[in-house]
């Protein structure tokens, strides 16, 4: 942002001050993530930059902790990763199906009690997680689903659906309903219309809602801590235990992998958002 030449000095100063603040905030946001990268390649056990690392000595860097993460004896990360992915995938599927169908109903102009139903559907997003955790735990304990994968998947469906409902209703708000009527007048049944006409058009919204649901499940730790037994441990639970007991560099290796994963998710979410905006005809 170049300033015009006639700008007075005090506004010029103010402008640079503003740029400086913004730079600081961006740095504050992003820098912590990058501390993890170099330290995860540390050859030593301490979580500080060693003299060798400061001098960029190649011997100070190693893949030791990544090896430990994958091959280490009695290492929980393999099981945790497997559980995390299984749970997140099923929770995402469940959230997407339930949430999309509900969003279709909600965006119909015939929907009765729209306000209160919408409030109920997105309540798991508004209620603090710890309370959701307690409530869900009570249900799962009663249903005999505590310490099972099914229980955790169901819990994550509860937490994930609001995101799908919100993104899909948002996509449907720009949706031209005459196309479904056109399909119906051409003799297509509702299911066929949905699969062939509606779904392809709202797909970006559905997928980005799914991404939210996936990340919610993959990153969720409060509810899992209440529900999980030893067999259902997930990556966040393992990190939580690890961070509470002792910060080991292996955790940093895992964290680095997670940052790479979130970068991939970010890229796909951004691409989807742009595609969705193009489809809805919102061009900025």
């Amino acid at each position: 942002m170049a300033l015009p030449k006639y700008t007075e000095t005090r506004y010029r100063i103010w402008h640079y001050f503003y740029i400086a603040i913004c730079t600081f905030v961006f740095f504050f946001l992003i820098a912590p993530l990058f501390v993890i990268f170099p330290l995860s390649f540390n050859a030593e056990e301490f979580l500080v930059f060693s003299e060798g690392m400061k001098n960029l000595d190649p011997d100070a860097f190693s893949l030791r902790w990544y090896k430990d993460m994958v091959y280490g004896t009695k290492n929980p990360w393999g099981l945790a990763a497997k559980n995390s992915f299984i749970i997140a995938i099923f929770a995402t599927l469940g959230s997407v199906i339930l949430g999309t169908v509900a969003a279709l109903g909600l965006s119909s102009r015939h929907m009765p009690f729209k306000g209160i139903i919408m409030a109920t559907l997105i309540s798991p997003m508004i209620v603090p997680l710890i309370i959701s955790g307690v409530a869900i735990f009570f249900f799962m304990a009663k249903a005999g689903l505590a310490a099972t994968h099914t229980g955790i998947v169901l819990a994550h469906i509860i937490l994930g659906t609001p995101f799908v409902v919100i993104t899909v209703t948002a996509t449907l708000s720009g949706f031209d309903h005459s196309v479904t009527r056109a399909a119906a007048s051409l003799g297509s049944n509702p299911v066929n219309t949905f699969m062939k006409v509606t779904l392809p058009l709202i797909l970006p919204g559905v997928i980005s809602g799914g991404l939210f649901a996936f990340v919610t499940s993959f990153d969720e730790v409060v509810v899992v801590l209440f529900l999980a037994g030893l067999e259902n441990t997930t990556i966040p639970v393992q990190m939580w235990t690890g961070l509470r007991e002792q910060l080991s560099p292996t955790i940093l290796a895992v964290a680095t992998c997670l940052i790479v994963l979130s970068t991939l998710i970010l890229i796909s979410a951004e691409l989807l958002r742009r595609r969705s905006e193009r489809l809805r005809g919102i061009n900025r």
Partner: protein, 420 residues
């Protein structure tokens, strides 16, 4: 009345009005059926359990079921002097059933919560009953009173009477560091045991300041992102979105590394000469750590709603303000800022609600002085297993959140919440 207007009929002879209503109803049902699966699922797995938290938090039926006859006969007792023979007799018969069921321990535990010193009295009575020392044909009152001197103390009988109602507000009072005393008056616990009120205040304080910090830091960068040309702002947006999508625990871990005594932040302070190398300040396991980490973690939730609102504000408005003679500051304050209020509201609400229920980050970087009410709830859920107390605190927290949400809805409107 004028002559009847002719009803419009559809082709199959049904009046149009009825036919339309029928179609409308059909559409309503169709729409509702689509929502029904999720609604039902949430009601069963989520809304009901929250209701169950409430019944659990006020439930005191256990003892009511243990001493049914005693409470029945106590109804006529005025509670001033020792109860009559009848009360003693029914208490003994209730107690005998409990001994048979081996539940007298539970009774002692529950009564001891009401008044200290019950454990030993109940135990003594148990031994006498076990050995069949109490003769039911004789005066039971005399015999029980001989078992332990506290059975002669009217205060203990008053305590039993207080446990009679099947519902209790004790857990809610406990969460406010209060209790019902012998005269049924609400009193505060002694000063050195008031831990919960500190936690509530601290939770509010942390949530409030984190919201303020997020606002102060988020507003400028949201403004920058909204006014920069697309190609730069997309690049900078990554700085906001990458933390947003990154695991909470990863971000907490990185703050633990940064803030530790030998960490990067302290290194930096030493290098610029702010602190001496041998006198590095403790920045983790206290409130500083909680504030710093929570602000960074919740900042994206402030920036995204602000950005989406600012994006819709036309830059020509500011230019118009300036061309009409306002200085840039006046134009900003009178034109731009009021237009961003929905975004400020959404961002602050989101951050505040997330912060008030925060658990993971305070537990890891907060230490003892940084723990919040959520940590206490989790502690009672997992360690002391006092689930009714955890439920009571959870519901109080939920009540607070709902009030804030309602206020927000009144002031700004909920429809302004957007995700990215």
């Amino acid at each position: 009345m004028s002559s009847e207007t002719k009803q419009i009929l559809t082709t199959d002879g049904i009046p149009l009005e009825i036919s339309l209503k029928k179609a409308e109803r059909k559409n309503k049902i169709k729409a509702f059926l689509l929502v029904a699966p999720l609604l039902l699922f949430l009601i069963i797995t989520y809304i009901f359990p929250i209701g169950e938290m409430f019944t659990r938090s006020i439930d005191d039926k256990m003892i009511t079921n243990m001493l049914p006859k005693t409470f029945k006969s106590m109804e006529t007792w005025d509670g001033k002097e020792l109860p009559s023979e009848e009360v003693f007799a029914s208490f003994l018969s209730d107690f005998k059933i409990l001994v048979e069921k081996k539940e007298h321990g539970k009774l002692a535990q529950r009564l001891n919560k009401e008044k200290n010193g019950f454990t030993s009295v109940v135990k003594k009575l148990f031994r006498q009953v076990k050995r069949n020392k109490i003769d039911e044909t004789q005066n039971i009152k005399e015999q029980i009173m001989k078992v332990h001197k506290r059975w002669r103390d009217v205060e203990y009988w008053q305590a039993i009477k207080r446990t009679a109602p099947p519902y209790t507000s004790a857990k809610y009072l406990k969460a406010m560091d209060m209790y019902l005393n012998e005269d049924n008056k609400i009193v505060q616990v002694s000063e050195d045991r008031r831990i919960h009120r500190i936690l509530w205040l601290r939770t509010l304080e942390v949530a409030f300041f984190v919201t303020i910090f997020c606002f102060l830091m988020g507003y400028p960068i949201a403004h920058l992102l909204a006014t920069l040309p697309m190609k730069y702002s997309n690049l900078l947006m990554i700085c906001v979105l990458l933390p947003f999508w990154t695991s909470l625990l990863v971000r907490t871990a990185s703050w633990m590394i940064l803030l530790q005594q030998q960490g990067v932040v302290n290194d930096f302070f030493v290098i610029i000469g702010l602190v001496a190398d041998d006198n590095r300040p403790e920045m983790m396991y206290n409130k500083v750590g909680t504030y710093v980490a929570m602000t960074q973690i919740l900042l994206p939730f402030m920036v995204l709603p602000l950005y989406s609102v600012m994006k819709t504000i036309s830059p020509s408005l500011m230019r118009a303000g300036k061309s009409l003679g306002g200085t840039p500051f006046v134009a900003f304050w009178k034109v731009y800022f009021p237009l961003t209020i929905p975004g400020i509201g959404a961002g602050c609400l989101l951050v505040f609600i997330l912060a008030i229920g925060y658990y993971i980050t305070p537990a890891l970087v907060g230490g003892a002085s940084g723990t919040l009410i959520s940590n206490q709830i989790a502690y009672h859920m997992k360690s002391t297993l006092d689930w009714s107390f955890a439920s009571a605190m959870g519901l109080m927290l939920l009540g607070g959140v709902l009030v804030i949400y309602w206020l927000y809805n009144k002031l700004v409107g909920v429809d302004n919440i957007k995700l990215g």
